[in-house]
Amino acid sequence: MTSETLVEISDLNFSYDARPILKGINMTMKRGQLIAIMGGSGSGKTTLLRLIGGEVMPTSGYAKVSGQIVHELDRDALFEIRRKMGMLFQFGALFTDLSVFDNVAFQMREHTDLPESMIRDLVLMKLHAVGLRGAHHLMPAELSGGMARRVALARSIALDPMLMMYDEPFTGLDPISLSVIGSLIRRMTDTLGMTSVIVTHDVQESLKIVDYVYFIADGVIAAHGTPAEVRNSVAPFVHQFVHGEVDGPVPFHYPAQSYHRDLNLEKALV
């Protein structure tokens, strides 16, 4: 592991009960890099973020953050390293009993001794970055889905983490917000020198901003490369995914018995 590497994932395996989700994943994420993880629904992308954050334990292998094997840390050490991480959850996960302002201020109040006047300024700056400074007094129930996700983004970057993980950051955003949020993620990664990991299905938007892409299918890394390599790839999996084609190695249907048999049409066909 070089000094430039912030996250190192080595031979990582994870199973729910006996069902393998991730099989032998190897990845390296450098400081200041913006990385996209793509793959079909249920391919284990979110699980990978949870493994990096220490929310779940791997079956074997490890995820190292800042030189520390995450699943071997005790609770205090894990919380210490999590203070340097931020995570945008798939559905925002805003605290519904707190206002937009208090949601963004939450970590500052929990982890710092900053005076309330400074917290106010910082919160308004974070909200301004996601275009919701004027909504600081609203409660989460008063926000649309897209607004809630933007507030969640402001909350997750509240303490300028060194590692930011975004789970589907573009879902539910209108085209203007999508473009602004995409640029914001890129700009923060560059200016703060943080490492950003995006789990996303939005191929075109993410290819515009990321440095490197990993494709996960059936629990393994099916392909990886820079955005230019991905766009020009002739690998059937990458081509199908990037161009959203129905035919290809990624099946649209969940495994099932014959359609005719399910509809009792076999006799009619004979």
Binding site: G53, R83, A93, L94, F95, E110, H111
Partner: protein, 264 residues
């Protein structure tokens, strides 16, 4: 036949093991809540906020129920006691019934239905919407920040609510017996004063309500935290909180009464 019998026995064994495992899990969680209670006392504002939701918002149901239970006790007590010419003892009957039994027990049952179910639903929904996971990812322990303040708010609220229930019940009894029926007010209060003992009756009732507060709130926070993160899971957990709390309150009441008033 034999297969069915074997399957039934296996089922009973499986449920027993599951029950014991769950009890152990709940005990560990309870100890964890106690261990993580430091934050609740260092930042008592968190508990005060929950006291409002758990205690103050339960007041209306406690006050109204206490008043009506006291009125019914006054009416029934008068009807029975007048047959023996002891209607002046109606104040004693109302007060003893309330401070020893009905106050702590009925207030705890109402508390379980109103506040216990709300605590379970809130924590369960926070889990289902990943708010607890998000808190954990922000290096804030959800047991210390969310569960413990609600637990202590419940424990603190319960004795006060039981006391308010008893006071309202006595007032209800007074309204019916003295104001409506015409029992002598002096007899009503003096009999009560001379027959209700502070240590044996009031203090024991207070101790009971403390036990009920711990039991109901511990069940409520555990069921919420342990609930499956789905709508069905939260709904089931809320139901379990009310049912389990009610049974535990009644069972505990019998045990505590046996110790307190029979000296077992």
């Amino acid at each position: 036949m034999f297969k069915h019998l074997a399957a039934s026995i296996r089922g009973v064994g499986h449920r027993t093991i599951e029950g014991i495992w769950q009890l152990g899990h709940a005990t560990r969680f309870f100890l964890l809540v106690l261990l993580k209670s430091g934050t609740s006392f260092r930042r008592f504002g968190l508990v005060i906020r929950e006291l409002y939701y758990v205690g103050v918002l339960s007041l209306i149901i406690i006050v109204v129920s206490g008043l009506f239970v006291g009125m019914v006790l006054g009416l029934q007590g008068y009807e029975t006691l007048q047959k023996y010419g002891s209607e002046s003892a109606v104040g004693t009957l109302v007060a003893l019934s309330l401070v020893r039994e009905l106050g702590p027990v009925v207030a705890a049952l109402l508390f379980a239905s109103r506040a216990g179910s709300a605590i379970t639903a809130e924590i369960g929904l926070m889990k289902a919407t990943e708010q607890l996971a998000a808190m954990g990812m922000m290096a804030v322990d959800p047991v210390a920040r969310v569960v413990a303040p609600r637990f202590w708010a419940g424990v603190i609220s319960m004795p006060f609510l039981a006391a308010i229930f008893s006071v309202m019940g006595v007032l209800g009894g007074y309204l019916v017996a003295v104001v409506f029926i015409g029992v002598d007010a002096g007899s009503f209060w003096s009999q009560m004063q001379s027959n209700v003992d502070f240590r044996i009756d009031i203090l024991n009732g207070f101790i009971k309500s403390c036990f009920f507060g711990v039991a109901v709130t511990a069940i409520a926070v555990f069921e919420g935290y342990d609930s499956p993160p789905t709508a069905e899971g939260v709904s089931g957990a809320t139901t379990r909180t009310v049912v389990t709390s009610s049974l535990v309150i009644l069972g505990l009441d019998f045990i505590l009464t046996a110790f307190m008033f029979r000296g077992i």
